[in-house]
C-alpha cells in the first residue's frame, strides 16, 4: 500500500514538472524567434496566400527592415474557425463565410462585433462565385439552373451541412429559383428538392466534390467555386468546360485580425498591415491571377475577359444576412433537412 502512494505521488510530481517545463520552453521560444504571423484560412486559397506571403514579407522588409515569417493553415472554413476557437493562436483569419468569423466574436469574443467594418468592401478584398463545370462538349446541354433538375442529370455538390462552399451553391440555386418562379416559395423549395435528388454523392467539402467529378468522373455537372473551376481546367486540360448560369451568388470571403491573439503576441500592427496589403494593386493583381474576382475596379477591368458578367446576388440583399440564412436553411430541421425527409 505504501508503495502505491509513493508511485502515485511521483507520478503526480512528474506530470506537474512536465507541465511546468512546457510553459517555460514556450515562453523562451517567443522571446528568441522573429515575429511570426499565423493566417488561418480555408481550403482553395492555399496557392494564393503562399504567393502573397512571399510578396508581403519582402514588402515589410523593404519598408521596416524587419524579418517576419508567415505561417498558413488551410482546411474547411468551419473547421478552421473551430480550431481558432479551441486555441490556435491565429493573428488573422481569412475564411469563406463571414458567419464563421462572427462565431469568433459570439463564442469567445476574440474580436469585436463590428469587425466587418474595419476594412473596405465588407472586409472582403476579393470575391468569387459559384459556376457550373460540365464534361467537354456539354453532352447534357446544361445552360442554366433549370437544366439541373432534368431527369437523368447527375449533379455533384457537397453537403451544405458540412462546409462553407456548399452553402453558397445551395443559396445560388435558391436565388435563381426565386427569379424563375416569381418568388413562389413552394415552387423554389420543390426546385431545390429536385436538384438535390439529382445529387448521387454528397461529399463533405468542396475539394471532395471536385475529386469526385474530375478524378472519379462521376456526374454530369459540378457546382464549383469559380477559381476551382479554372484549376480543374488546368489540371485536366480538354476534359471539362465552364458554364456560367444566368444568376449566381456573390461570395464574399472575409478577412479579419483576431484582435485578442494579436494583442497578446504583439503583432497587431503587422497583422493589420498584412490585411491592408490585400487591397493594394499588386495584391489585387495576384488575386486576379489566382482566378478570384478583384475588388479594385482598374484591376478587375484587366481581368474582365476571365470573369464573364452575370447577375450576382449578395447574401445580405437576397437572404438578409448569413445568420438568418443559416437558421432558415441549414440549421437542424431547416429547409435542407426537410427536403431529405421522406
Amino acid at each position: 500500500m505504501k508503495k502505491n502512494i509513493l508511485i502515485q505521488a511521483s507520478l503526480a510530481a512528474l506530470i506537474f514538472l512536465s507541465a511546468l517545463s512546457c510553459r517555460k520552453t514556450q515562453q523562451g521560444e517567443k522571446a528568441a524567434s522573429a515575429v511570426t504571423l499565423l493566417n488561418v484560412s480555408y481550403d482553395p486559397t492555399r496557392e494564393f496566400y503562399a504567393e502573397l506571403n512571399r510578396e508581403f514579407i519582402q514588402y515589410w522588409k523593404d519598408k521596416h527592415g524587419q524579418e517576419i515569417k508567415i505561417d498558413q493553415s488551410h482546411g474547411g472554413s468551419g473547421k478552421q474557425a473551430r480550431s481558432v476557437l479551441d486555441g490556435i493562436e491565429a493573428d488573422v483569419v481569412t475564411l469563406a463565410l463571414s458567419l464563421d468569423i462572427d462565431m469568433l466574436h459570439a463564442e469567445r469574443d476574440l474580436l469585436p462585433a463590428d469587425w466587418q467594418t474595419k476594412l473596405p468592401d465588407n472586409s472582403s478584398p476579393y470575391t468569387s462565385t459559384i459556376v457550373f463545370v460540365v464534361r467537354k462538349g456539354n453532352p447534357k446541354g446544361i445552360k442554366d439552373w433549370g437544366d439541373l433538375v432534368d431527369e437523368g442529370v447527375q449533379v455533384i455538390t457537397p453537403n451544405p451541412k458540412t462546409g462553407g462552399a456548399p452553402r453558397w451553391c445551395y443559396l445560388a440555386g435558391w436565388a435563381w429559383g426565386r427569379r424563375a418562379f416569381q418568388g413562389d416559395e413552394g415552387k423554389v423549395r420543390d426546385f431545390i428538392r429536385r436538384l438535390y435528388k439529382n445529387v448521387p454523392v454528397l461529399d463533405s467539402g468542396a475539394r471532395g466534390s471536385t475529386t469526385t467529378f474530375a478524378q472519379r468522373e462521376i456526374g454530369d455537372v459540378l457546382l464549383s467555386w469559380e477559381n476551382e473551376a479554372h484549376l480543374i481546367e488546368k489540371e485536366f486540360p480538354g476534359k471539362t468546360e465552364i458554364v456560367y448560369p444566368s444568376v449566381s451568388i456573390l461570395a464574399e470571403p472575409s478577412v479579419a485580425v483576431v484582435d485578442k491573439n494579436a494583442a497578446k503576441k504583439g503583432t497587431s500592427e503587422i497583422a493589420a498591415a498584412y490585411l491592408g496589403y490585400l487591397y493594394t494593386e499588386s495584391a489585387q493583381d495576384l488575386i486576379g491571377k489566382h482566378y478570384y474576382r478583384p475588388r479594385n475596379p482598374g484591376i478587375a477591368e484587366k481581368y474582365a475577359a476571365q470573369f464573364p458578367k452575370l447577375e450576382l446576388v449578395t447574401i445580405d440583399q437576397e437572404f438578409g444576412g448569413w445568420e438568418k440564412a443559416q437558421k432558415i436553411h441549414f440549421a437542424d430541421g431547416g429547409v435542407f433537412d426537410q427536403i431529405y425527409q421522406p
Partner: protein, 281 residues
C-alpha cells in the same frame, strides 16, 4: 494499481467524462429531440448494422485466412502475413480514397461489378429495395452506396480477427485432431466438435474488436459512402455536421448516445463470452 488508475484516467476516463458533461449541458427534451430525429435513427441503423455485418464477414474470411497462414507452408507466406497488418498502418483517408478508386465505376473491380449489375438490371428488372440497390451499383460500381461503406468497414476490421485468432490457432496442436480422427470422427466433425469450440472465444474477441473499430470509423467511410442523408450517412458524419454548426452540445449528445449503445453491446458480448468460457470448462 496506482499507475493503472492514473493512466486510464488521463487517457480514457477524463476525456469521456468531459464528453458526458458537455452533453449533460443540454436538457432531457433536447436529448430526445436530437436522438429520435429520423436522420439519426437512419444513421444509427446503418452504422451499427453495417459494422456488425462487416465484422461478421471478417470472422468467416479471417478464420479461413488464418487457417491457411498457420497450417500451410508456401512461398510468399511471410509477405502475406505482414500484409494483413496494412489496414492498421494505412491512414484511413488513404484507404477510403484507394477503395473508392478501385471499387468505383471507373476502377478495376468496380467497372466489372457495374457491368454485372447492369446485366442483372436489364435481364431481370428487379423492383423494390433490391432494384434500387442494383440501380445504384450499375451507375456507380460498388462505391457510393451502403455496399461501399461495408467494403471499407471490412477492410479496416479484418486484421483484428486474424491477429486475435492466430496465436490461439498456433497453440492448437495437431494431436487433438489426430486423437479425434483415431476415434472415428470425420473431418467436418473434427472441425465442428473439436477445433471450432476452442476457437470461439478468440473469434468473439476478434468480432468485438472489428465491430467496435467499425462503429467509430470516419476517415475511410466518408470518401466511399456518398454521404446521402437517410441513405448512406454514418453517425460520425452527423457528429461532424453538428460541429460544423458550432453545436458542440448536440455533437456530444450524439457521441454519448453512440457510446452508450456501444458499451451495452460490448458488455453483452463480454457476458456471452464469459458464459461460453464457463461452459467449455
Amino acid at each position: 494499481m496506482g499507475f493503472t488508475i492514473a493512466y486510464l484516467s488521463l487517457i480514457i476516463l477524463i476525456p469521456l467524462a468531459a464528453l458526458f458533461i458537455k452533453a449533460a449541458g443540454l436538457g432531457w427534451e433536447e436529448w430526445k429531440a436530437i436522438l429520435v430525429s429520423p436522420r439519426i435513427i437512419a444513421a444509427t441503423r446503418l452504422t451499427f448494422g453495417l459494422s456488425a455485418a462487416a465484422a461478421g464477414v471478417s470472422v468467416v474470411t479471417g478464420l479461413l485466412v488464418t487457417w491457411v497462414l498457420v497450417r500451410y507452408e508456401f512461398p510468399g507466406k511471410r509477405m502475406l502475413d505482414a500484409m494483413v497488418d496494412l489496414p492498421f498502418a494505412l491512414p484511413t483517408a488513404v484507404a477510403g480514397i484507394t477503395l473508392t478508386a478501385i471499387y468505383g465505376k471507373e476502377g478495376w473491380i468496380g467497372s466489372h461489378f457495374a457491368a454485372a449489375a447492369t446485366w442483372v438490371k436489364e435481364t431481370w428488372h428487379p423492383a423494390g429495395w433490391i432494384g434500387e440497390q442494383i440501380n445504384t451499383w450499375a451507375n456507380f460500381g460498388a462505391a457510393y452506396s451502403s455496399l461501399g461503406i461495408f467494403i471499407a468497414l471490412t477492410f479496416i476490421g479484418f486484421p483484428f480477427v486474424v491477429r486475435t485468432l492466430q496465436p490461439v490457432m498456433e497453440d492448437l496442436g495437431k494431436e487433438i485432431e489426430e486423437a479425434a480422427a483415431t476415434l472415428g470422427a470425420g473431418r467436418w466433425t473434427v472441425f465442428r466438435r473439436v477445433i471450432l469450440p476452442l476457437l470461439v472465444p478468440a473469434l468473439i474477441t476478434g468480432f468485438t474488436l472489428a465491430f467496435a473499430r467499425a462503429i467509430g470509423e470516419y476517415g475511410s467511410v466518408i470518401f466511399i459512402s456518398g454521404n446521402l442523408p437517410m441513405k448512406t450517412e454514418i453517425l460520425p458524419l452527423l457528429i461532424v455536421s453538428q460541429l460544423e454548426q458550432f453545436k458542440y452540445g448536440a455533437a456530444a449528445v450524439i457521441a454519448s448516445g453512440m457510446l452508450i449503445i456501444s458499451f451495452v453491446l460490448l458488455f453483452i458480448i463480454n457476458l456471452l463470452q464469459r458464459r461460453l468460457d464457463w461452459q467449455n470448462r
